[in-house]
């Protein structure tokens, strides 16, 4: 008989995941518990690792473009935009104005779709089942627009290096406008369901606080950073694809808790609607493809280009050796770096809060593991 057994230990180690509905994929979190309190967490990731960066080195620039959709598959359009902008930077070219506006429309619609899916699953994690059905209804309309535009709903491959492959289809502006008009009242409905809901507030307020300084230390970006009071959005700070032309605000909150992150994302959906409404009003005419030639062969060089993806700063660092394939292609995934802050956010919280905190970071494992 040993003198001490695990029953005498104060610390209990509990595995959460990899197969657990609240981990949004295959994320394993090792929790060190003192009773119900979290003493420490350790994330085990890589279950979805496909070697995207290595694949990139072995494909031509155009061949690799569809692969980026498979990282953050909830926001494939944003992934594609970042990649195309990075390659265009290396080629020292820019998409024509018409292509830029269409890109903005699709990217913002995608941001709404991504936030909607986040809202539905996050609410589901907390125990609110109803919102999921509503958000799926609205998301469907966005996916219909994508489908009509490029034939795909999730992994869209909507953009090409240098512009667009497809012209806008007949009635796309009207469809987008109709969606925007119908969508705003529905955001109010979500808020009616959740914002003042007592259970919702008690589960979220003061849970998983991350201050602005901590966000900067941990490199956390996106809605998580803005909920901590830092007014920073790459669309405003370092505008790309003509975002400087649109009138929109950066929603921020002060507390940096889970509830504030929820509010920031709700506000962001409204701002995205504003951008889409402005963009569809004024799509310039002209070509949709810049002169890049059939074979993309950037000169020797390197560039880091990033965009404001729904989840934070999505960056591409590409090194070109002057051939048709990237010499090195690095993706800076927002989810990966935001997830690192889970340790900080969940310290001292309860087990049930971890579920809320994982949900509020808005991770997609396809992007974390690449």
């Amino acid at each position: 008989m040993p003198e001490t057994t695990f029953l005498d230990a104060n610390e209990l180690v509990l595995n959460m995941g990899p197969q657990h509905p609240s981990t949004h994929g295959v994320l394993r979190v090792i929790l060190k518990l003192d009773g119900e309190k979290i003493r420490g967490t350790e994330c085990v990731i890589g279950y979805l690792h496909r070697g995207v960066e290595k694949i990139g080195e072995n494909r031509t620039y155009q061949m690799f473009a569809p692969y980026v959709d498979r990282m953050d598959y909830v926001a494939a359009v944003s992934n594609g935009l970042g990649y195309c902008l990075a390659v265009e930077k290396l080629l020292n070219t820019e998409a024509p104005p018409r292509a830029q506006v269409v890109r903005v429309i699709l990217t913002e619609l995608n941001r709404i779709a991504s936030h909607l899916l986040w809202l539905g699953t996050h609410a589901l994690d907390i125990g609110a089942i109803t919102p999921l059905f509503y958000v799926m209804r609205e998301r469907e309309e966005i996916l219909n627009i994508f489908e009509a535009y490029c034939g795909a709903r999730l992994t869209t491959h909507a953009f090409r290096c240098g512009g667009l492959q497809y012209e806008v289809y007949d009635g796309m502006e009207q469809q987008a406008k109709r969606f925007c008009k119908a969508f705003l009242p529905r955001v109010d409905e979500y808020e009616e369901l959740l914002s003042e809901n007592r259970i919702w507030k008690e589960r979220l307020i003061n849970v998983g606080i991350l201050t602005g300084d901590e966000c900067k230390q941990y490199g956390v970006t996106g809605p998580v950073l803005r909920a901590a009071g830092v007014k920073w959005d790459i669309r405003k700070a370092l505008p790309y694809s003509g975002y400087e032309k649109y009138d929109f605000e950066i929603p921020t909150r002060q507390n940096g808790d889970t509830y504030d992150r929820y509010m920031v994302r709700i506000q962001e959906m409204r701002q995205s609607v504003r951008i889409v409404e402005q963009a569809v009003e004024d799509i310039p005419s002209g070509p949709i493809m810049a002169k890049v030639g059939k074979i993309v062969k950037p000169p020797v060089g390197e560039a880091y280009v990033s965009i404001e993806a729904p989840k934070g700063e999505l960056g591409y660092f590409i090194v070109s050796d002057g051939s048709t394939q990237p010499y090195r292609l690095r993706v800076r995934p927002p989810s990966f770096i935001n997830l690192q802050a889970l340790e900080r956010m969940s310290r001292g919280a309860l087990v049930a809060d971890v579920v809320a905190i994982i949900g509020t970071i808005d991770i997609v494992l396809g992007e974390i593991d690449r």
Binding site: K54, Q217, K297, G301, G322, T324
Partner: protein
């Protein structure tokens, strides 16, 4: 299609084809490896240019135009000068060997042992308080095999810069986790993919691949089909047949 594009495209096609098999053997084809040297020493671009005209003997008229039209195989950087570079040059002197700018993006190249001090200086004195990314690039032909790249951003200045350093294969750069906690996972990923160990890192182990995995996938000599058969066989019971 514009005329200028013509030679470039025709020259590109055979090269692209020649590189396609790159998927099968490891990436050792000269076109991919060659720029490593010029990028490092900034010299001898003709060596890379030659194969292109030779590959296409037929269209002589286009072939003659090519050397003039083609861009040299060196990164065409411009010097980067600002108050910040003056400040850095004053403080670190010879430890920073290059201040350059390419497509409007500024970067500096520093000696490996001064990187932590530079990153810390940039955070404390110049507000570069956000470490965006840490990554590496492998140049197997170079004596200093790896480039380690730190991307930094300053919220106050709204400016992004890169700090690069060149290290030998067995060199262990000091971790920057003490300055930016973000670097923890980023450096682990660099170790996982390139085998660069970071000295005094709090948790230096693999992050995406299993701990027992052999080899470092993003090194150029790691073939895309050369996966770790032993690990796959032991743990998954699959005979991959590769």
């Amino acid at each position: 299609m514009a005329d200028e594009n013509q030679p470039d495209q025709t020259a590109g096609a055979p090269e692209g084809d020649a590189q396609q098999p790159k998927t099968t053997p490891p990436a050792e084809t000269p076109p991919a490896a060659a720029p490593a040297t010029p990028a490092a020493e900034g010299a001898k671009p003709p060596a890379v240019k030659k194969p292109a005209p030779a590959a296409k003997p037929a269209a002589a008229a286009h072939g003659e135009k090519k050397p003039a039209a083609k861009k040299p195989a060196v990164m065409e950087t411009t010097p980067w000068e600002s108050d910040l570079t003056k400040l850095l040059a004053e403080r670190f002197g010879g430890a920073i060997t290059e201040f350059s700018s390419y497509v409007g993006q500024n970067f500096l190249v520093a000696a490996p042992d001064s990187v932590v001090a530079i990153v810390e200086f940039l955070r404390e004195e110049a507000d570069f308080d956000y470490l965006v990314d840490v990554t590496a690039v492998d140049y197997p032909q170079r004596p200093e095999r790896f480039d380690v790249v730190y991307v930094l951003y300053s919220f106050a200045r709204n400016e992004r810069i890169r700090v690069k350093t060149r290290i030998k294969e067995d060199y262990a750069p000091h971790t920057v986790t003490g300055v930016h906690p973000t670097a923890n996972w980023l450096e682990r990923e660099v170790y996982d993919m390139f085998g660069i160990r970071f000295a005094e890192h709090p948790d230096m182990k693999r992050i995406l691949l299993p701990d027992e995995w052999e080899g470092y996938p993003l090194r150029k000599d790691y073939s895309i089909i050369n996966m770790d058969n032993r690990w796959v066989k032991d743990n998954l019971g699959i005979d991959s047949g590769q």
